[in-house]
Symmetry: D2
Subunit: 159 residues, 4 copies
């Protein structure tokens, strides 16, 4: 993993900033709440997010809908690529579905930074089930836009 | 578009089979209901699905979560690639996010078959807003497994 | 296909500009010459490029190396996305290999623009053999950088 | 990295099998010779391949053609996914171009296995320049077909 220079004075404050950013994002992230996502860990360029597959997330084959798996992976990606408190959006994502996820299973999505150059980053998310089996591999490309995450969310909140 | 030989006696019956398959799938597709998806049209190798962006689908930037856009595109893909009544799953998908989708907007995802050889197909889905602007481009790869869609869903229902 | 407004006075001059740009690029494109590529047609947002699979392009399975197929598709993409005479580079590409290409076969790569918004475009290339069978499907994402293609190549040539 | 059970009696013999397979492949891989590729290291599920960017590999911008970078990454992927001496082909690949590679530069492509389940694998290749800068990130999906690599190449050679 390729930890980016955040300009933070020290690793501890970079970690604290990542956590504060994730908390500010999570409060406002309706889709995360819709799916019952939980942010387990976040550091600069890194995030781990958990979800239990609910019956309402199934497709017609009675397994977790691929779009829900994507949303889980994409959410871990969002927390990881915004962890420097710089507003960052996804420009493209790719997912390989390797094994089905059953209703009731607890899944974890772990996202790691592979590259960050200028405004563009590449992040890999792995979704595993409770036994450690890989359910899906996801790669996302990020683009940093203007503004800071926490300041923007607070400004929006006071409106 | 590359319409596959379905073995159906004539185009009208192939269209009818595609519609019956979509109806059987939709009844059981909990994730489609969670997001309020509507199947607008389905033909062999083709599907069009609509969704209105609800407030509960927003991310922390107050725009539609990328995972929800993916789920919409992936659902159109699922209806298109299962339209021959052969059980078919997604093996990999790729999405490019081109413009944000706002809360309250009505989106349509149109999926077309690009290739179908043996068990493997490639399908392209375009998501547009009401003005016709392209919101996202999605490409999915499908793999046909054993069994028929309608028979499998009915067997599951009677269990 | 989604032809972009090029600002050209009329379609005929947009077509002529596309052809002049392709000619200027081709003269300098060593990799195109290494593989014996031929530009068959070019228009705004569109290009068609042909190649005969040489024995030196084979992999250890005695079929055309996937990297050579990619290079063919990517070259059609380059001619299409630079056809407005604005310097444009590839930021990411994805390819699905659907059928092997044999030594001696003549292949054509046809590239069409799917979207062009601001500096970012999405282009689809299809590689077919002489019988029309699809060998590979390619999707490329482009990013426009500063400068014009013809002026830059001429400046480079006079150095 | 997720080393697959190869059925080899011990790690040393699995490593030896990977090396023998790579040697047999390399002798027959014309495209590798066309680009002057060198296999630096190979182990089960892993390969490292080097290339110097020649003037004949440039595009019209005088930097290494994206197709050549893809071919380098794809070749490392081929050696890694065939390292168990089971005939394996690429079904789809994706590449992100992060920085240009100049003529004369020595590049290394390092490929690692991310997943291997049944016949399907996912492999990540990173291309770096001599300073360690990441030039491109590549992800390939493999599919195991029938037959063994070394036996097939020897049979082909004796024909």
């Amino acid at each position: 993993m390729n930890h980016h220079d955040t300009g933070a004075a020290d690793p501890a404050s970079a970690d604290a900033l990542a956590e504060q950013t994730a908390e500010a994002m999570f409060r406002r992230d309706a889709a995360s709440h819709l799916l019952g996502l939980r942010v387990i860990a976040v550091r600069p360029g890194y995030a781990r997010v958990a979800m239990v597959v609910g019956a309402e997330m199934a497709n017609s084959h009675r397994i977790c809908h691929g779009g829900i798996l994507f949303t889980l992976a994409d959410s871990a990606f969002a927390y990881a690529c915004n962890s420097y408190n710089k507003n960052t959006v996804a420009s493209a994502c790719q997912i390989d579905f390797l094994a089905p996820a059953q209703i009731g299973e607890r899944l974890e999505a772990e996202c790691e930074e592979r590259s960050l150059t200028g405004r563009t980053g590449v992040y890999d998310t792995t979704i595993r089930d409770a036994s450690g089996k890989v359910i899906a591999l996801f790669r996302g490309k990020s683009y940093r836009v203007t503004g800071e995450v926490i300041a923007a969310l607070e400004a929006d909140g006071s409106a």
